[in-house]
Symmetry: D2
Subunit: 346 residues, 4 copies
């Protein structure tokens, strides 16, 4: 079928490519003319702007918006609301906050325009591997778009089938789900990312413990000099913890097992935060997902004000003077060895 795509970054561009490869047609737009040009060379129809894009699509139109969540998406959908007609549908495939979906869908509904939110996972691997899609919207609209989703989804592939699913919705095994009404798609994608943070942090802490097992501050009998890259690899087969994230870790460590090509500064996007907000609203204790988020926050500070408060208190009750510099990691462990003279302690 035909789709309009707004936003031709690495995600949007590859979605178009995967669609065209399977026989779909695309009218595409991006702020960057080169991005449009590249795709027109591959068979897409370029548009000079939103108005042009809408004009070039046959009604009932389907316009996929694949832009960074927030301001740009908001403005684009606003404008589309003015250009599209009843029966058309806007698909937000970005990482939008699910409450924004609900609000926007309500506004668009007033003029008969449908809205579908698609939490799209797959990153830079999606073109080849397919996109896992979590979809929110009215059944009839989602069904109408099924050819698009079926093409983008990874399909069953060589992943073993789960027993007992014979009578269940077959789309799910293909890698896409109609999760519920508008907002449900991004809600499920949000939790997916929340889990992702937790999984990543679990591996990361484990490797940190392995790495620091060689610390010279440990008693000699407690030290191991472990090959982290090999350990990541060995766990990929037969252990309890194989996963795609472990595969990626093993690949990165095989390349550079010190990872000194990374600063350790870790960003977070909105989904991790919204997941915790949702947990709090539901009164669900989400210790691990929250700790994973906070580890990222902390990674981006040199020192927190909280830490200075601690030092100020310690000076207050114990006369403790903290060192001014980071010691080498090797000097971190084994508190016995670094205790101050009793006289300075509380």
């Amino acid at each position: 079928m035909q789709i309009g795509m707004i936003g031709l970054g690495r995600m949007g561009g590859n979605i178009v490519r995967r669609l065209m490869k399977d026989g779909h047609h695309a009218v595409v737009y991006d702020r960057d003319p080169q991005a449009i040009e590249a795709l027109t060379r591959e068979g897409a129809i370029g548009a000079g702007g939103l108005e042009d894009l809408v004009r070039k699509l046959d009604p009932p139109r389907a316009v996929w918006v694949m832009l960074p969540a927030g301001q740009i998406t908001e403005a684009t959908i606003d404008q589309l609301g003015k250009l599209l007609a009843a029966g058309d549908v806007v698909i937000d495939g970005g990482n939008t906050f699910w409450q924004d979906d609900i609000r926007r869908a309500k506004t668009l509904k007033e003029t008969g325009i449908d809205y579908v939110d698609v939490g799209t996972s797959g990153g830079i691997w999606g073109y080849a591997r397919g996109y896992c899609m979590m979809i929110g919207g009215d059944k009839v609209v989602v069904d109408r778009l099924d050819p698009i989703f079926a093409t983008l989804a990874p399909g069953i592939g060589d992943i073993p089938r789960t027993p007992g699913r014979e009578t269940r919705d077959p789309r799910v095994e293909q890698g896409y789900i109609h999760a519920g009404p508008v907002g449900a798609g991004h809600f499920v994608k949000m939790v997916h990312n929340g889990i992702e943070y937790g999984l990543m942090q679990a591996y990361a802490e484990g490797f940190d413990i392995l790495k620091n097992a060689s610390s010279e501050a440990l008693p000699e009998a407690h030290r191991f000099d472990l090959d982290i890259a090999d350990i990541a690899e060995v766990w990929r087969r037969g252990s309890v913890i194989p996963s795609w994230l472990l595969d990626l870790t093993s690949t990165a460590l095989a390349r550079n097992d010190q990872l000194d090509n990374y600063s350790g500064f870790v960003e977070d996007s909105g989904e991790g935060r919204w997941t915790i907000n949702a947990a709090i609203e539901e009164a669900v204790p989400a210790e691990v997902l929250t700790a994973a988020l906070y580890a990222r926050f902390r990674s981006r500070r040199d020192h927190t004000f909280a830490e200075k408060i601690l030092s100020a208190m310690r000076a207050g009750f114990g006369g403790h003077k903290e060192p001014q510099q980071h010691p080498e990691p090797e000097q971190q462990a084994a508190p016995q060895q670094k205790l101050k003279p009793k006289s300075e302690r509380a």
Copy 2:
């Protein structure tokens, strides 16, 4: 080659089976005569006790101990120390604390007996899937046992190879690793289990948030009634979070998506705890792994004393009286609705 196996539970028995299937020979012992009998029917030589087992093995002997960590393993290895001779090797394949390995190896060394610790992962799936093994011990001893490990390991299978490993130890890709000197095997297995707890808890919290999204205590516009079983399945393909643990979760949810066949009481074994002890000794912040362990501790209490202390304080400063019973989960969220009259609050 030939091996003696002590402990024929589901792990030990299947290890013997996998070895025999590949042409190895086994002399086996268990406290339970039926376990011995079952394996002799399949080709193993049964032993009437440790002494008999040692007698039936050709020197230099290799005796694999596959018993619960702690007292029984300790006593068994103690006794083996008296029965074996220089050049023999004891293999501890259980979940032993790595510092116990080091101590035992030192004692056995005095009479020339070698010791190898093997962290063995694979659970009830190991017979078919192979066992991921993390091995600690002297190179020459570990090398001598290689045929055993090669048989037990999963092999490369259909799991894609990690690029850049061409010049590295090829055993690792087969699913076993010589991690370092005695103790290193169980140390790495310990961290594997620590990570396992963290991964499990990350998924668990995510599904809890999805589940409680339908809570009636939420504002109606914030509620979703999601199909948890389908969501677990959809994430298996194309998302960022596929893993073997997710596969298992999807299978369990396809069978019973309320999971009301489970009490929610969750045990922990020693490795999770030792991992945290190791993190603390190394001064590594391991928030997620620790939170995962604590969630299990908490799952086994009706209420903690800590919670009663909180209630006592709240009564003290605010005159708060806590309800005496668990409300339905649906009544948990949305604090606005359940605030007490101002008069009872601080």
Copy 3:
């Protein structure tokens, strides 16, 4: 000066009493006629409703709303907005969400009505001990209300003065602060409560560790049978951790050191949650405050769905069967003793 008070619960009623004791005048209203009657007997002027209350106050009026945050406060302030006149002021002394303050103030401003938010701490002790007040609003309005705040505040009392504050705002030492524009009062009170949760949980966990030191599951040489009530008391003098919360704990434990008069079910109000939401918006890692909130969430569940997911996974990879009942706490510790036979483990 004269004040109108809406909401005569334990907080509102005692605020009126403390004001009248110091010579202020009050017109009071509550849904409960008995609450009004009680205060009129003590010198207040009763009102039959909001309209009557407004009529009985001399302009420019000051109306203090002391109701549960949420719906009731919202409706009351809405109605006051229609009854009051330019130059009057609404004081919200409840536990309102600070963003609601900002929104309401903006609406009231349209008709010239001022708005002041007062985070009011002190609970059932406030009448005698005074109320710590965190105030948000325009300077001129807050200044006009100063006589009210000065009366309600605790005053310097016998708490030692902090050196170096000679040139700073003297109201602060009296126990009230003009924290900033509208919303700032409740924002600061919100963080106060967030900290409160963290402090409470820190003590609670410590006492839990002391309590469980007598667990029969511990090796005998690791057990202590400690007098928790005496320990709480001894820490009140000369230690690093004396606090009002510890005083209250010691009092509760002196009365009943098993605290079996408490269920362990612990409520939370909105402030704890909003504090975490604020931390997340600011990208501040707030591990301790969050863990304290989650401990309350968890205290209110029999079991979480997350825990059932864990059990389902454990059954999946290891064939583990969890016990169906809570063991006695004494059977919790010492994992060595409770390991399952190897055959059932992964």
Copy 4:
């Protein structure tokens, strides 16, 4: 009565001074001759070494060891074991690990020497304020030393008495407790320090949230520019969270509310770590105390290896490139504004 004191640092020296002020006699030793000289000028008898100290004391001797926990204390008590006689007592007033107490006491018992462990709190304030002491040992020995403890303890002072303690051990209200057999004193002191970490972190996080409320990355309507020093002070009276730690914080902030005289590098001593190990052995979930410990671990690293693992994974699945430098804190919040183009996200 008479006491020998080994270790004349700020704690040991002031303990001697407080004892002498109340009429007790002291024989003192330190590696630093100047420390001995200073105290002899104030009335103590100096000793040239352990042997000399033992000789100058009248049997049955009481020798207080006030040295850093670990090696030095171990060696000193070892040597005392050889010099002292049956009926003498060694008092370890340092921050010793309670299991070391039990081991040492057992050894000393063989030659009839008693052992008492005293967890001593009070820091640099102890001379004036008194020391809160948590004591482990045999009743008859602890009773014999009572005059020492009674002098060192803070006494009831002006801290209000807890109702309902009339029939309980009166020493507790004086600020010292005979907590149980050998080891119990340091066990209780250990938990005291564990709680201390938790309390400190709770305040620290709260102030961090207040501080970052002015971040320019927040939407302007969500920003507050708060006076942290004034807020710390106002909470000291009438709120729920007054404490000695808050007093110290207010003092530090009055002096420098940026705390830029502190690096934010925060040390930990053994007690915090041992508290968590104890919690884990008891299967007590101690989320807050653990998070407080980990915050200190983290404060001492520039970046963790865990964080690099996260970055490596993010590059692997999403092509994310993390910035190499710490942005200003103001650029931390508000994820909406800093999202990368969709093309680089997963």
